[in-house]
Amino acid sequence: MEQLKRILRASVVLAAALGIAASAQAEEGVTDTTIKIGTMGALTGPLAGIIVPQFNGIEIVFEEANAAGGIHGRKIVFVREDDECLPSKGVGAVKKLLYEARPFMIVGGGCSNAAIAQKPEIVAAKVPWVVTAATADALSEPVDPYVYTTMSAAWTEVYGMLQLALDEKKSRIAVVWQPDAWGKARIEPLKEALKKKGVTAIAIEEVAVEPTDLTPTALKLKALNPDAVLMLLYPKAAVPFLRDSMKVGLQPLAIGGSPLVEIDQMAKGAGSVEAVKNVRVIAAAGFGVDDPQVAKWKEKIEKRFGDRFNLYHMFGIAGGQFVVEALKRAGRDLTRERILAVMSTMQMSSDAYAGPLKCTPADHQCHKTLGIFALKDGRVSGVGSTTPTR
């Protein structure tokens, strides 16, 4: 009898211990003191220069939250996995992240190509994913219960660029684009936008991703006399285009997207402020790098990581703030189901964006207010904002 009592007592203690352990391990990636959040992107390779700053932006927000005592007593543990932004490496990297690191959720995904390849794995694992920089529409359309994005989708920027040209009463619109995955993700939505607005582009010129000289392209466009050029380009192509356009006397309104927001750097690359005097940039970020609104983050980033603060940090900061806020709202009893429910109706402001981050159950593209930038007195300055619609 006494032995039976001892067994019963031991069983009760064991059950209680298991119960406590089970409650502490209620959700994968969550312990009593930590929340593990994973990310994947190019930590090495040609695109590391634009992806690592995003991760640094996310991490600085997490570190701030941790320094303030964590989220409901839990510190965020941020795990980075390298996929070089390659679809071929991306699937392996995200599997490693999902099944070895076992994070509570994923925040990141810097490149559309890799992110598109990774999406089925993440969705199959039922892990919440907040995309912070990849822009392909296919990531967030149609709506998937596990995928949200705090980055403006590809269509948003191109519709915004066209709208800005039309608002400026421009009618002879030319397009210059680079034929890589990033450019391809935009040229089709832009053609769709042109069609919807009843505009026929006077030229759609494809240029190399890393050209040395674009004088012939500039001359061909000049002959067509455009009053606006929409640039679906990264700086490596935009700088020679603007430089050589100035050389041949072609300086219409030139509208670019997020990658061109460092207009001051482009002026240095082109060797002259004159080359960028008519440049306007529609960008996901809401503020210039020298704007007082982001001064706190600039100082923190430069001190912590030694980076030159840029737009990509802002993408990360906004994504990080979105996640921290969602975790706060989800409460101490954190589950994936709960945070997905919170994010589905999330509305908040970010320090790095011009407008609110607003998600609905039917729309997980949570960022649609884009900043408009120009170079003023040698500084990249916000000159407005726009919320494009289709």
């Binding site: 050209p211 700088v239 060797g271 990581f305």
Partner: protein
């Protein structure tokens, strides 16, 4: 007007390719190997100059000199660590080694300069305003590249013709074994060759960086263009490489101006294919001479 601009653009871009191609040729002539890390040596030279001139505020000329010295030292270091241990290995081993070195240099550059952003603007040496030459506008920096190509060509030619070191390099190029038998220290000549080639890459980078921008990944694209130029001119032929550089540049400009901008970037590949099929020895090929 378009034709004039296309030719001018082709010449200035071609000068850029020619300058890189000359470094490739020097290496090939003396060692018999194509240095597939030449583009990365160019890139490192550019970043050295950027660090000195832009980040540390060193005046331009001392930055140029120090970057060239740095490039030369990197060439020497590469010789000691990579090339010399493989001196007797099959040619394919050297191909793999130089490709591997290119990846290493790229990785190091990303680590050291990656935080500067996606690309690094390098201020032009000359006034950035375009100047008119007849009916066409040209940037003074483009003229600097053309002039520096001509100057480098002249200096390299004089180096090979007039200096003892240059002559020993030529002797080694003709027959390493014969050179060894007459007392030339072939290994030392190889080291000097790698170093000279790397220093020349650094010179090219300093002059060209204001036109091309700097990124840790700039080397491969330029190597391809320069390689097309050397193939076209005839592997190992220096004047051929210069002519090849100009032809590639002009062909690209014509493609962009008269066919489509999208064809511009593939012209180098088209040239490589055409030359390999139609005239494998290139315009001024020296392959037969080396085989004697």
């Amino acid at each position: 007007m378009l034709l004039a601009y296309v030719i001018a653009t082709g010449i200035t871009t071609g000068a850029l390719y020619a300058l890189v191609a000359v470094g490739l040729v020097i290496c090939y002539r003396t060692t018999g190997h194509i240095n597939f890390s030449h583009g990365e040596l160019f890139m490192v030279g550019g970043f050295l100059a950027f660090t000195l001139h832009v980040l540390l505020g060193v005046p331009y000329v001392p930055s140029l000199v120090l970057a060239v010295l740095g490039g030369g030292l990197l060439g020497l270091l590469s010789d000691r660590l990579v090339y010399r241990p493989l001196i007797s290995a099959p040619a394919t081993a050297m191909v793999v080694a130089t490709v591997a070195l290119s990846f290493v240099l790229r990785g190091v550059a990303r680590y050291l300069w990656g935080g500067q952003g996606e690309y690094v603007p390098f201020p032009p040496i000359a006034d950035p305003s375009a100047v008119m030459i007849g009916p066409i506008a040209v940037f003074p920096q483009q003229l600097v590249v053309v002039a520096s190509t001509v100057l480098c060509m002249a200096l390299v030619t004089l180096f090979f013709r007039l200096t003892r070191t240059g002559k020993t390099m030529k002797a080694v190029a003709e027959s390493p074994r014969a050179a060894y038998l007459v007392g030339i220290r072939v290994e030392r000549v190889y080291a000097m060759t790698w170093s000279l080639s790397a220093a020349l890459a650094a010179v090219s980078a300093v002059f060209m960086a204001p036109l091309t921008q700097l990124t840790p990944d700039i080397g491969f694209g330029l190597l391809l263009k320069a390689f097309a130029a050397t193939i076209l001119g005839g592997l190992g032929n220096m004047p051929g490489a210069v002519v090849g550089g100009f032809v590639v540049g002009i062909a690209e400009a014509f493609a962009a101006g008269y066919i489509s901008s999208s064809v511009q970037e593939v012209m180098a590949f088209i040239i490589i294919m055409l030359v390999l099929v139609l005239r494998p020895t290139g315009l001024f090929g020296v392959k037969a001479a080396r085989e004697v």
